[in-house]
Subunit: 306 residues, 2 copies
Amino acid sequence: MSALGSTQSAAQAHTPSGLKIPVLAVVGVGLIGGSFAAALRKAGAVGRVLGAGRRVQTLAQAQELGIIDEAVSLREAAERADLILVSAPVGAFPSIFAELGASLSDTALITDGGSTKQNVVEAARIGLGARIGQFVPAHPMAGSHESGPQAADANLYAGRRVMLTPLAENRPEDIVRVELAWRVCGARVIRLDPAGHDAVMAAISHLPHWIAALYMQHILQSADPAARLEMAGPGFRDFTRIAAGSPEMWRDIFLANRQAMLDELSSLRTVFDRAEQALQDGDATWLCDMLETSAEARRGWKGPAV
Amino acid sequence: MSALGSTQSAAQAHTPSGLKIPVLAVVGVGLIGGSFAAALRKAGAVGRVLGAGRRVQTLAQAQELGIIDEAVSLREAAERADLILVSAPVGAFPSIFAELGASLSDTALITDGGSTKQNVVEAARIGLGARIGQFVPAHPMAGSHESGPQAADANLYAGRRVMLTPLAENRPEDIVRVELAWRVCGARVIRLDPAGHDAVMAAISHLPHWIAALYMQHILQSADPAARLEMAGPGFRDFTRIAAGSPEMWRDIFLANRQAMLDELSSLRTVFDRAEQALQDGDATWLCDMLETSAEARRGWKGPAV
């Protein structure tokens, strides 16, 4: 893909990185895709922005907001784009990769915004076939409870971490080019392997969401949910914030990362059981030690990986 | 207690409520006690503020900060104060009530800032004996992860909810007077019974803290805690914020509210087990329905009870 990482002086005038993407396509024009397009446009790194997606109305909205220049089919995106970001719900990836794979130009690169990586890579292998080397998987850690094109923000990725999980089939220069695109968005890119990525994500992202959602269920199934919710304070607010996230997106994530999630739940259960026993026994020392190490770890935490 | 709710015009000039407390004592001069004293002083509702507590250094600090005028023993507080706020860790309440009960003047009223109420009332009945009617229990919902005299804030209670759980032995006018003191601090006071209070608190405050602390344990016991914490993002940040709270305070709360907590944990387990089964089965419909109702409830929540 000659256009990415170009050294033309015209491109350099716009972006110190030298990145110029004549045609960018985003599949899914919401928070992740819309922000990617907006950030690259703001940096002067893109020519034309194509948008593809299931809903005509959402694409029209993205166009009105100036996030995309043109709504296209997946086939057109595959044929015309130099770089394609797939930022749809993970469950839709198999069919998207299949459609892209059927028409993908030789020079196009694909990256994605999926929150899980092993299953995304698997879907890409099936859909893209021999073109798998053109796909450099990524996971931008820049979620929000907001969604849709109106949530798109050119600064969303500023200082945020993007995990890149390159494949053995990727050409080194293609990895560098995709990495550069994310960096031009303002992101800090780190590389790791897909399985390691998924285990870490299950622990520090997916499990908290699972627990927050189930805790809300627990409250809803209590004797008087309204009275309880009425009394809830700032601790409840923060603890449950992530439970407001997109049900479809999280369903896909949990199913996609099922084995890692089940492993997490199994060891979490051991911790819960031990603590419940201590509470039952009135074991003040155990409880205080536990609370102490947890509080210490949380206080010592350096803040979100941004 | 004639001083509370006084109608003297001098007092009225300071506080529209007419509240004048010649001598206020706070037992525990940290966030809760310090803020109570500061709020009443700001409203012009107190004459002299006495401070009692275990640590000489903390009392000295509170005096330097102008939160209290004088550090005293519990006995002096009991003899001299018109209103006493007990805002120490709940585990210290039995000995505090015993000491206060031995010297309490006929006209003094006591209220408290304890996060549980049944055990506090029990401790008060033992410690205060025949003077139990002088104690009007309260729970101000104004926690913070900050603590100590330097965290005291005259505006902490502004718009916050304070749950008052009066006793059968309280004189109606004494309940009204204690309620007025909290209202002068800016709080919105609601009344309920101690057992109902504890069940609600277990569900919406204590259980989230329990889970957040155990989740941190789970991460600390994983293969590579540092790598996981390094990757954690804004979702993790909010979900675990409350785990940084005071270990001693929370140990006391969990033990004090043990039965309500065990009841909560038992029904939470049912919810967790059902969901894990759905994940194991790859039951996308069940998962999506669950996530949908949780997200809907969280989105529809009106915000913290302030």
